[in-house]
Subunit: 409 residues, 2 copies
């Protein structure tokens, strides 16, 4: 296991003050699934009437808890609900035994909380391919249910960490017809900081009241512009999970027209997504890649991801090198439409290239000075149409190699 | 410019003895395009009657010489022909001026050799986005044409290097109806060893006689199984070029049924492709990724590329870690069809996982010992159909970061 002694240089100054969401309580426990001397299981118990929406990894080799969540999500039910998450073992590529572990845990939680098993969602993050010691989690469930409390979300953010270098939380409050609704969330990943631990897990809670179709469609649409727009190293976990639970405790009902709520939810999701990038393995730079002028938004996204995933672009950023030739290369290889002679590139406000040639006003010295910043914006305009996309990534450094080339045991 | 003082540990023991191909002569010169104290331009002059086939990068931002080659290739002509290549400047992303540079060089070569300009093919490799000092190349053409010789191919292999750590050559001889035909080739790349220098250039010569459609279709088909099956870092150059010239001097004509010739050409192409991987930036391991049991060959190729391009798989190989969970991850994210429960994985002959679970006979110690080898085979069987693919790559090491995060100037 890689020894991580430093918090990411891109970490926020402090964990935010997350407000209580009525209708949900949290507890954590040190069950010893794999780690010792720290909490490794968190339980969130939702009062009856909560709506739970979710999106999951599209990996063809997804983990057993993801398959179980996908089977359960989308059913409306007024019963109470729960989310149980362990760190230390991903319960992924564990065959038939993986599903047995999920059932054992979720049925034990259902029994302890007296709710239907179909309302118990679970996630696991940690090593792949090892049987999960689910008996250790089950043995801790009484302690968990006895410890549930309204203000336990910060402790929950710690319990789900694997080797993240900081816990991740975000919150906002929006007014709907003059009434306050709160949204708060926690996340872990995507450190991949201990080999095999790449899972991104995100749990967001709101006291808004929402019908499932409304909430699910909002979450799916916002996911496409937030978590699906970040990349650390182009590798996709077998376990990525985002759950959003609306407790309804505020008494304020949202609809598909609740623009203010959607904007608040977007802010919380984007904040958590950015925190995941800021904890990217070995990251020393936070980079926004903005693409405009593509034939479509989808093609803009292809170009932006090609730039953000290019090892040559990412190593140039690590070296504080304004190496715009590599951006031209990444646009050229992406597969989406581009025309060399209408292409323009900026680093921040510095125009580097225009119409397929280096700008006459370009100063390499100015660009090199810009690249020394911690937060960078790379902007590419394709000059072809109205398609736009924004993607967030980090640089590729020796730290990434240190973390991931270490032998596991 | 990165200082490379060591030859790749994966380099062949020596440059091979390349036989003379009748009908082609070579010359090199130190024109000072960018480098000093070394040759940086090579000229290959082909006698009348030669057939020239080629394949090129599919980048949307391809360089001016590539666009010019693509416009010229595929025209049959009995006149003499020439290939002129410079290192030091890629003449890429150089707008209208780029094509002017190509025309200036190719027309000067055509005049000096008294051949049509449409039969002069050119390549450039080096920095992107700087105007090329083509006057320096033109000033050296008389010296080049005066120095043409039959046995100059090894010197040509040196002149086209940018910061490759070794020159690359391969040759074979095949018998067609009892008559000997020779095939010999040189390549450079894909070191990307000096930032911006990622071009792969390959020139192959044979004394077989071939009609253009026959030669072109062989080259395109073999390219799909050789050069298109290697990856160092998933980044695609703006200038990749493969030219194959058949001089006809042997008097032996090949047809689409010349299986022996095709096999010989395949061997030379694969040998050169492997040498490019063996000179991959920072490489310490040469890795074959073999995928079987996919729904189709195309889907097998998608899985193989996903494994070979995964930074997490490549760093695990660098760390000599038999981290098969990352291979499961790479299969899962590829987008091609896979079923976790029919998936099997081998390192060499060591069965790691079968039917979606770690093999009961698997020994981590055996696998860890295997990973210490310099040449590795990762084999994945999807258990779904008859599709197969093989891809070659190298590991991702601190050397890659050193080479590519260095500031350019």
């Amino acid at each position: 296991m890689a020894k991580i002694t430093h918090v990411s240089p891109l970490a926020p100054a402090a964990f935010p003050d997350l407000p209580v969401i009525e209708g949900v309580r949290f507890a954590t426990v040190a069950a010893g699934v794999r780690y010792s001397g720290r909490t490794d299981v968190m339980l969130a118990a939702l009062d009856p009437g909560a709506t739970v929406a979710g999106v999951f990894t599209r990996s063809a080799t997804r983990a057993a808890p993801v398959l179980d969540c996908q089977a359960k999500i989308g059913r409306d039910d007024d019963a109470g609900a729960a989310i149980i998450v362990n760190s230390g073992n991903a319960n992924a590529f564990t065959g038939r035994r993986g599903i047995e572990s999920v059932r054992a845990v979720t049925s034990a939680v259902a029994e302890a909380l007296d709710i239907p098993e179909a309302r118990v969602f679970s996630s696991s993050t940690g090593v792949i391919g090892e049987p999960m010691k689910h008996d250790r989690i089950i043995a801790a469930i009484d302690e968990l249910t006895g410890a549930l409390k309204r203000d336990g979300i910060a402790e929950a953010a710690h319990a789900i960490m694997t080797t993240d270098t900081f816990p991740k939380g975000a919150a906002t409050e929006v007014l709907i017809d003059g009434e306050a609704v709160r949204i708060t969330g926690i996340a872990k990943g995507s450190g991949m900081i201990e080999p095999d631990m790449g899972t991104m897990l995100v749990y967001i809670f709101t006291d808004a009241r929402a019908d499932l179709p409304v909430l699910q469609s909002m979450v799916s649409a916002l996911n496409a512009k937030t978590f699906n727009c970040i990349t650390v190293d182009s590798d996709t976990s077998t376990s990525d999970t985002l759950l959003v639970a609306a407790t309804g405790a505020s008494g304020v009902t949202i609809t598909e027209n609740s623009v203010g709520f959607m904007e608040g939810l977007r802010r919380v999701m984007l904040d958590l997504a950015h925190q995941v990038v800021r904890d990217g393995e070995g990251a020393t730079k936070f980079v926004e890649v903005s693409v405009t002028g593509a034939h479509s938004d989808a093609e803009a996204q292809v170009h932006a991801k090609s730039i953000a995933n290019s090892p040559l672009v990412k190593t140039a950023i690590a070296g504080e090198d304004p190496n715009w030739g590599r951006i031209v290369m990444a646009v050229g290889k992406s597969g989406a439409r581009a025309d060399r002679d209408t292409l323009s590139i900026w680093f921040g406000d510095i125009l580097v290239a225009r119409d397929g040639w280096v700008s006459p006003d370009y100063s390499e010295g100015d660009a090199a000075a810009y690249m020394k910043r911690q937060d960078l914006v790379i902007h590419v305009d394709l000059g072809l149409g109205g398609g736009t996309a924004r993607v967030w990534t980090c640089d590729l450094t020796h730290g990434y190699i240190d973390i991931n080339a270490d032998y596991r045991s």
